[in-house]
Amino acid sequence: MKLSIPEREIMSPGHLACQGCGAALAMRYVLKSLGKRVIYSVPACCWSVIDGPFPYSSIGVPLFHTAFETAAAVASGIKAGLEIQNDEETRVVAWAGDGGTFDIGLQALSGAAERNDDFIYVCYDNEAYMNTGIQRSSATPWGAWTTTTPVKHFKKERKKNIVEILAAHRIPYIATASIAYPEDLIKKVEKIKTIKGTKFLHIISPCPPGWKSPPELSVKLAKLAVQSKIFPIFEIENGIKYKINIHVKKPVSVKEYLKPQGRFKHLTDQDIEHIQQDADAYYEWLLKQEELSNE
């Protein structure tokens, strides 16, 4: 028997994630790579609930639940606390959703990134405030329905490009990943383990209740997001060296990605064309960045 990802499981079942939760898969994969010598800082997000109520936990490693906007700052403190007690080995992870990263936690994240504090920041992105009941965040894509962007006034703003914001901080390593490509995701965590400084990992994590999609399609959607160029898989070293890790040779249309998701069902063909153009343009831009990086 040959497995394509590590067999060990750090996270245990019994957790409180919804059926088909992408964020649970993201955690499972990251922990498989990181192992037990790690400490998590988790702000308000789905994982505040998923891990389980006091006095239980499912993550299998130390976890400090913290206030919404503090994931990065708490991680900085944990790392400093460990180092002053002569523990250079234990890794620190800030594990936040898109709201805690793109919105309320952006300041602390920017501060930590500017200081290049030595920890891994993982944003599992389900593209809205799912834990509070599907309200729009700045990670919600153009065109999406949420409870605060009703169908008549669906979100008319583009998804914030968090990766470019982090790139501007010139941190040593930034990568995107998808739960549909665990081998790529785990390879990136393995690479992260060799790098000192602030590392940022952005994982697209489908959310069946929030995306209004069937739970069995979570992996499929995370794959279509990549294959339709909606969520390109790439990495950036030192903020300037781009590398696309999954080249989309035969792209599927964004329509195929959008269609199974109830949150997009109101969109007209014209709307979908708008999304298509935006996705194509960004992918083109990334290709150019990659080309420039190779020069």
Binding site: M1, L3, S12, L16, G20, P55, S57, E216, V219
Partner: protein, 104 residues
């Protein structure tokens, strides 16, 4: 952390001073969330473990089984925890997992 241990206190005198976890969520058998139960047809199974790979719980165990000279392990659904999301059936490349309605 000890697994599957239910933690009981009488009150302040025997509980910790802060909200600190002392046991695993394994105590929480999420199998009772399930409406659909995955059933693996081992005749068709090619033992690729893609179902295991994509299980968000994880509730697919890898168990020892002498299937052939080259295959010595098989995926087994852990019904104590499987929530019935159906990702395994959806992702199975040979469609050997069927989602069967749970009887109430």
């Amino acid at each position: 952390m000890a697994d599957e241990k239910e933690i009981k206190w009488t009150g302040v005198k025997d509980m910790p001073p802060m909200a600190v976890s002392l046991g695993s969520m394994r105590v929480n058998k999420t199998g009772n969330w399930r409406n659909l139960r995955p059933v693996i047809d081992y005749e068709k199974c090619i033992y690729c473990f893609i179902c295991w790979k994509f299980c968000p719980e994880p509730s697919i165990d890898i168990e020892a089984a002498q299937i052939s000279e080259r295959v010595d392990k098989k995926p087994v659904i852990n019904l104590n925890y499987c929530k019935g999301c159906g990702i395994c059936a959806e992702e199975c490349p040979v469609k050997c997992i069927e989602m069967v309605k749970e009887e109430i």
